[in-house]
């Protein structure tokens, strides 16, 4: 038996939380909702069985709380995802762990991070066309094979997750953490890999003007990835909180902008004109070449309004709200999704591939990410932990994580 947080299917709690957080006043109490209305409970569970060959047991060390986890706990995640999960499950997909079993090329006791996507390889299936191309995030088999449905570890009833004392993972999901990379940096490998993936999803010409909406974990790591892997010009970041603005600058933001003045500031920085409709937010005729939406909330509406005609909006945060698509139509924008990570797509000229996780593990140890994980909670204080994570921006925190070494 092991101690774990278990998410159970509860339509009543889901709808109640969704009802509360979807209102303007209720959205201010997201942290209270996350801590009190979430269908989550701390419980003793049997340790998960190894599903088959190539699987190993893991003892998580640190496991982050992601924006998508919070969306799930506060009823803001889309019902679209319900067939892609198998309840009850143990959440947690940002995991640094120690292996408890030997694998052919990975001795037990190895410190690893988990690529959570449960694609064909993990499911023991012949590779689907997407997986065969190295595009595991587009796998069509996330509900098939010998495992219960689950788009990722942390949403699958068979694998356990990082919010439990033990879990299982397929060898193909594991990436060895380099020596010298501390756990609190390693736990950022997964969100950093996602940010790198988002940046790789679009062509970013040298000198392009980029706007990043949101400066939580996803937004900040997107800035880092943009500066590391592209030669874009200005990176203008819409950041709500003071500490986010400071960190955004440290990571290479050209300008940081408060949300209330985003349209005016981006117009001044990129040109064009500002238009004020009779209802709804102001928008630009002109604007950024590429905008990354990293809030998982109302940022998409802002992104569509700040991007120039023919430009691109990359959806990095998991969407949770509806949006007026008129700018998409009128400005002939490209809307690009960026979900999870992959192993690099088609092999490069030299035959090699550099996957998002490879890059992330290369970068995470040398990037200025100290202090990003500045709130660690034991599982027993999970209500405080998710409440803190839901209010992280206001509380000056970037990433909240469960410390599985503690009781």
């Amino acid at each position: 038996m092991m101690l774990a947080l278990q998410y159970k299917n509860s339509p009543v709690k889901y709808l109640t939380a969704r009802g509360v957080t979807s209102t303007r006043i209720g959205s201010r109490f997201t942290s209270a909702v996350a801590g009190n209305l979430a269908p989550l409970q701390l419980t003793q569970l049997p340790v998960p069985d190894l599903p088959g060959r190539g699987w190993v047991r893991l003892r998580p060390l640190l496991s982050g709380i992601c924006g998508s986890d919070l969306a799930m706990l506060t009823g803001r995640s889309s019902p679209y995802l319900t067939p892609l999960v198998s309840t009850p499950f143990v959440p947690g997909h940002e995991v640094v762990a120690v292996t408890l079993d030997d694998a052919p090329d990975l001795p037990k006791g190895s410190r690893v991070v988990v690529d959570p996507v449960l694609s064909c390889a993990a499911r023991g299936l012949r590779l689907c066309p997407a997986c065969a191309e190295g595009r595991q995030s587009r796998c069509i088999a996330v509900t098939s094979g010998g495992l219960a449905p689950g788009l990722q570890t942390g949403y699958c009833g068979d694998t356990g997750g990082g919010w439990g004392k033990q879990m299982v993972a397929h060898r193909s999901q594991l990436h060895v953490v380099p020596e010298g990379v501390r756990d609190e940096l390693a736990v950022l490998a997964e969100p950093l890999a996602c940010a790198i993936h988002a940046v790789r999803r679009v062509a970013l010409p040298a000198g392009a003007t980029v706007v990043v909406i949101g400066a939580g974990t996803v937004g900040l790591l997107t800035i880092l990835a943009l500066r590391e892997y592209t030669e874009v010009g200005g990176i203008h970041v819409v950041a709500k909180h003071r500490h986010q603005q400071v960190r955004a600058r440290q990571l290479g933001a050209t300008e940081v902008i408060e949300p209330a003045r985003a349209a005016r500031a981006v117009r001044r920085l990129t040109g064009g004109s500002l238009e004020s409709p009779v209802m709804g937010a102001e928008y630009l005729l002109g604007g950024a070449d590429v905008t990354f939406e990293c809030t998982g909330g109302g940022g998409l509406d802002t992104a569509l309004r700040l991007t120039r005609a023919g430009g691109t909006v990359v959806l990095s945060g998991m969407p949770s709200t509806g949006v007026d698509l008129t700018p998409l139509w009128f400005r002939e924008l490209h809307l690009v999704g960026a979900y999870a990570t992959d192993s690099g797509g088609v092999p490069e000229a030299d035959g090699g591939r550099q996957g998002d996780f490879d890059r992330a593990l290369d970068l995470v140890g040398r990037a200025p990410l100290d202090g990003f994980v500045d709130a660690r909670y034991p599982l027993t204080r999970w209500r405080e932990a998710v409440g803190h994570a839901a209010d992280a921006g206001r509380l000056g925190t970037v990433k909240v994580a469960f410390d599985l070494a503690e009781i």
Partner: protein, 525 residues
């Protein structure tokens, strides 16, 4: 016979004094010994204005009479001061319209067909058709608008003419129609000593390329004050430019001056000296104050903006600008100048609801700053009323409120620039070009009713001399956040402000309160 200006020394018998504060006022008990500068009583206005206008046009200074300058085949352009003058707006009929009618009558008599009227709005917002009609009068408006009565457009790529450089290398670029006219008749209202004269054509019809030579931090720091032209670097530049203009265009100027009648009959008590308020004045004042305070801000703003001033005209002089302007300045001084001995540790000013750039608009925080540290601080000759390193105390609510149409670049300047720095030179070097050349601001200046993109920066420079001179600036009654954004402190009361000023000027400072409006020009000896 009007009484001259007067300096009151506050003693035990001095009543509470009126201090303007945006769309309202306070009755303030000043510390004993405070000196209060009052302007001369309002001078009597000219009774027969039409006769005075005719006389001026037929007996000009330094030029032949206007009829002798007019001929049938000529190109005549009549230019007039824009919405920024006078303040408050003049009760119709506006003196500009009356003069223009006379000029047009003479032009018609001479058979001049090619006549155009231009508002000299420089980089200010365009005047609306209603505002133009109010300035020139109904008859002229109907006859000339829109084809032959229009606003100057400093950003019209085909509408400007570069006349050359001054001996200091300053570009002189003015409106093409004006530059190519056989005669340019300028109809002016000189409200303060900074206006009129060499400024009228070179600035009023100028472009950013031209204005940037004098509307900059260096020049404004060396304009001490800009209401004292001989000591104003800005006016030295105007004179150099006026010389270039004069070499290319014949200018016949008509300058007017106004008396101090700022308030209509119902609120006439606002310009009386407080100890002269009778019982009726006191009752009216208290009732007005109470009603004013109970009125919602938006409505209050509208009511104050509708306050047409029953100005009397104190002088009309026409002819060569160089000969006319000294006569105009003498009239301004006659109405506004008050001598005072020595500077004080603290200067106090009550800032009213209006400045040149919020007529029919909103006085945003940057305009409050420019009114206080620019216009009012510079209402002096010889020396500022406050000593070097002293403290300025201004009264204004300084709401964080902007007119979305008139002041779009002001909003960005307040939100984007002042959050980064308030340093005038840093702003000038880093942001001026961006704001001046931003195509959107240019579009709004040309086609909407927006001030030019660079205008908020000019307003910020307007306080350059004061900010260099003063040790501290405190705004009484101001929105704390708005004041802090601009680097100023705010206080709830005068007592609090004086307490705060102790850090800079000690515990027993000398205080001078410059009582205005009506405008008072302090001649500090």
């Amino acid at each position: 016979m009007s009484r001259p200006g007067f300096v009151l020394e506050v003693d035990e018998r001095t009543p509470s004094l009126l201090v303007h504060q945006g769309e309202g006022f306070r009755l303030e008990k000043f510390p004993l010994g405070t000196r209060v500068i009052y302007p001369p009583d309002s001078l009597p206005g000219i009774r027969d204005l039409d006769a005075a206008i005719r006389h001026a046009l037929l007996n000009p200074h330094g030029t032949p009479p206007l009829p002798e300058l007019l001929r049938p085949d000529m190109r005549l352009t009549i230019v007039f001061d824009d919405i920024s003058l006078p303040l408050p707006q003049m009760r119709p009929p506006d003196i500009r319209g009356r003069i223009i009618e006379h000029v047009l009558e003479l032009a018609a008599a001479a058979g001049v067909d090619d006549v155009e009227l231009l508002a000299a709005n420089a980089l200010h917002r365009r005047m609306t058709p209603a505002e133009l009609k109010r300035a020139v009068g109904d008859r002229v408006f109907r006859a000339f608008f829109p084809k032959h009565l229009r606003n100057h457009d400093a950003e019209d790529p085909d509408g400007m003419t570069h006349l050359g450089l001054t001996r200091h290398g300053e570009d002189v670029e003015i409106n093409k129609r004006a530059a190519e006219s056989d005669l340019l008749v300028y109809v002016n209202i000189t409200l303060t000593a900074m206006s009129g004269g060499p400024k009228s054509v070179a600035v009023g019809l100028g472009s950013y390329k031209s204005l940037k030579h004098h509307h900059n931090v260096h020049t404004l720091r060396h304009s001490t004050s800009f209401n004292d032209p001989p000591n104003s670097a800005m006016h030295h530049s105007y004179h150099r430019m006026a010389k270039v203009v004069e070499d290319h265009v014949k200018v016949f100027t008509i300058e007017t001056t106004l008396n101090g009648d700022n308030f209509p009959e119902a609120t006439k008590f606002l310009q009386k000296r407080e100890w002269e308020w009778n019982l009726r004045d006191q009752a009216s004042l208290l009732a007005f104050k109470k009603a004013n305070e109970m009125t919602p801000l938006k409505l209050r703003r509208e009511i104050w903006q509708r306050n047409d001033a029953p100005f009397g005209v104190t002088g009309i002089h026409a002819g060569d600008p160089k000969e006319v302007h000294p006569l105009t300045l003498a009239n301004v001084h006659r109405q506004q100048l008050t001598e005072i001995d020595g500077q004080a540790d603290i200067g106090v000013w009550g800032l009213p609801f209006l400045c040149p750039y919020n007529v029919n608009s909103i006085m945003n925080p940057i305009l409050v700053m420019s009114l206080g540290l620019g216009y009012f601080f510079n209402l002096y000759r010889n020396k500022p009323i406050v000593r070097q390193g002293g403290v300025a105390i201004f009264y204004h609510p300084m709401q964080n409120d902007f007119h979305q149409i008139h002041h779009p670049s002001y909003i960005d300047f307040f939100e984007e620039v002042l959050t980064q720095t308030t340093d005038q030179q840093a702003i000038e070097s880093k942001f001026e070009k961006q704001f001046a050349e931003d195509p959107w601001y240019t579009h709004l200046y040309r086609n909407s009713y927006a001030y030019h993109g660079v205008h908020p920066l000019y307003m910020w420079y307007w306080g350059a001399h004061a900010m260099e001179h003063l040790g501290d600036v405190i705004f009484v009654g101001a929105d704390r956040k708005a004041a802090a954004r601009m680097g100023f402190r705010s206080a709830s009361t005068l007592a609090d402000a004086l307490e705060m000023a102790k850090d800079t000027v000690g515990g027993s400072p000398s205080i001078t309160y410059q009582h205005t409006p009506p405008a008072t020009l302090a001649d500090v000896r």
